[in-house]
């Protein structure tokens, strides 16, 4: 049990879990940042993820002994001079880790330091007096680790039709004259879709489907956020405990990407693949197979 609680001046993190696709992150953050009482250092240009960084930074103290050719006592001791030493790389303590990770009055050091660092960060981050929340797009590991550290937070899961993400990822890469990062040079939309279906998408859909709306967690469909902005806006404000406010215009998708454009872009074979491999999951989330 971590007994250090964040001071009242701390902001409550709202972790927006997406697949990381920029086309998904931007409109979601565009809407959320207009809510008031929320602050963030994230913006599309800087892509700052302060909380993700501080969490990984704290985890270094988790008490795991790490000593190998690229990380050892020498690298701690000597100033940066050459090769590996000309960076500020750091990993777990290269020796008996129990002293930098041990339990003390029930607190593990990395958890204690994550709480402390979050408070130090909140003290310095530019914010309005009324701000109560800090918002950041993140990957699914972040809320899990924050829960492990018992740092109070909210998690907003963004579900999006995987066919739409596949189409956007594919065409966004083509528009820039480069392949998207998950694509190999020998991929076609079909092979990419197959790999996605087999390895990632089923687990993700299952994860979204199981998210229950609670005081701390909510799941919102990306498509609803674009098409039914008013309803989503009110749901989110209620979930965060914010007073009602006028509904803003629907968020911009950046490149005018309509939610159903994938139907025209993806080959029939790809659509059939999704239909046969994950019909049940798609239906459960309200997506027409």
């Amino acid at each position: 049990m971590v007994r250090v609680s964040s001071p009242p001046s701390s902001l409550v993190p709202v972790v927006v879990v997406t697949t990381g696709l920029r086309g998904t992150v931007r409109p979601v953050m565009d809407l959320l940042l207009r809510m008031g009482e929320l602050t963030s250092e994230w913006c599309p240009l800087t892509d700052r993820r302060s909380l993700s960084y501080l969490t990984r930074h704290a985890k270094v103290l988790a008490g795991v002994t790490v000593e190998n050719a690229t990380w050892n006592h020498e690298l701690i001791f000597y100033p940066p001079i050459a090769g590996e030493r000309d960076t500020r790389r750091i990993a777990g303590f290269p020796g008996p880790g129990e002293h930098v990770g041990n339990l003390f009055e029930g607190q593990v050091l990395w958890q204690r330091m994550l709480h402390a660092n979050w408070a130090f960060y909140c003290k310095r981050v530019p914010r309005r007096r009324t701000d109560r929340f800090y918002i950041e797009p993140a990957k699914p590991w972040l809320p899990i680790v924050l829960s492990e550290a018992e740092l109070p937070h909210r998690t907003l899961w963004i579900a999006r039709d995987p066919r739409s993400e596949l189409a956007e990822n594919w065409t966004a890469g083509a528009r820039r004259g480069a392949l998207p990062r998950i694509v190999n040079c020998i991929d076609s939309p079909l092979t990419l879709a197959e790999r996605e279906c087999n390895r990632f998408v089923r687990a993700r859909l299952d994860q979204w489907a199981r998210v229950e709306t609670t005081p701390d967690t909510i799941c919102i469909r990306y498509e609803d956020l674009l098409d039914q902005t008013g309803d989503v806006w009110q749901r989110l404000r209620t979930w965060l405990g914010l007073a009602a406010a006028p509904v803003p215009r629907a968020p911009a998708t950046g490149d005018e990407w309509p939610a159903t454009r994938w139907r025209q872009l993806l080959p029939d074979a790809v659509l059939e693949l999704y239909r046969t491999k994950m019909r049940a999951e798609l239906v459960a989330l309200g997506y027409a197979p």
Binding site: V60, P79, R88, C122
Partner: protein, 300 residues
Amino acid sequence: MHPDDQRLRPLLLLFPARSGSTLLMQLLGTSPKVVFDRVAPFEHRYLAFLVRWSWQLADGGLRRSDWTVEQLMNEPATAGNFIEPPPFAVPAGFGTARPDPMWHDTFRCAWREFCARARRAEISSPALDPAPIWYAEKSRAMFRYALQDVGIEPHVVYLLRDPRDILMSIWSFNRKRGTSFFSVVEGESDEAFARRFIEERKLRLRMILEMAPDDPHATVVRYEDMATDLPGVAARLSDRLGVQLDAQQVLTNQKEFSHHMSSAGPEASIQRWRREMSPEIQQLFADIIGTEMQALGYAV
């Protein structure tokens, strides 16, 4: 007790290699009021680790090109994974443009936590004093400056040894083990290495010469004194640090550390250069750092 009262005061040993730092750590280890891992050669540097960990929040920079936002986001937060300064513009919340940057708070908090845990975990010895005062570590000047930045004044012990004997000890150590430690570059001639070594020593000797003789936060310990009169050094340091150091205990255990020595014993390691060093290299010392050595009492 106020949390700050539980903090141990850092005792940093600043030393060139082969100048008796392990012997001095042995001596400090005879007091239960001095905390550090009693595992030879006493190089578990917790303080250096926590300083460098806190520095990650200092001002970005010094990142590898393959440390990107993608990598930050996609790797789960697992202990043991590498981390580098933020792979994006430094967040304003890190306060690097303010007089009280976040890393100062981070280090102070981590140090307070470590001290409390170190007391509880008895890293020092099974018979750790209930109220230890010092945390000792073999260190470097940059860590002293880092501590001063965050408002913690360490006590520094400078180890001083005749640089000519240090050079002989380095060569002897490497010959004995077939290694090329202490920045020895393979293929480099003895004279070229000696010249590089002497140039490096110049700065260190000047630092000691410029130290105020009555500096309450620094002490100079000569290797030659430790080798010939360890009880005298123990008495002087005990007085200086407010602890009780036991030279006899170290002398009794000396055999256990024979593998670390490169001469027959501490006494034999003094003025070894007179017996083993070539006149040409002796002349190099005289030409480059003769003035500094004489000012520190070493005959040239």
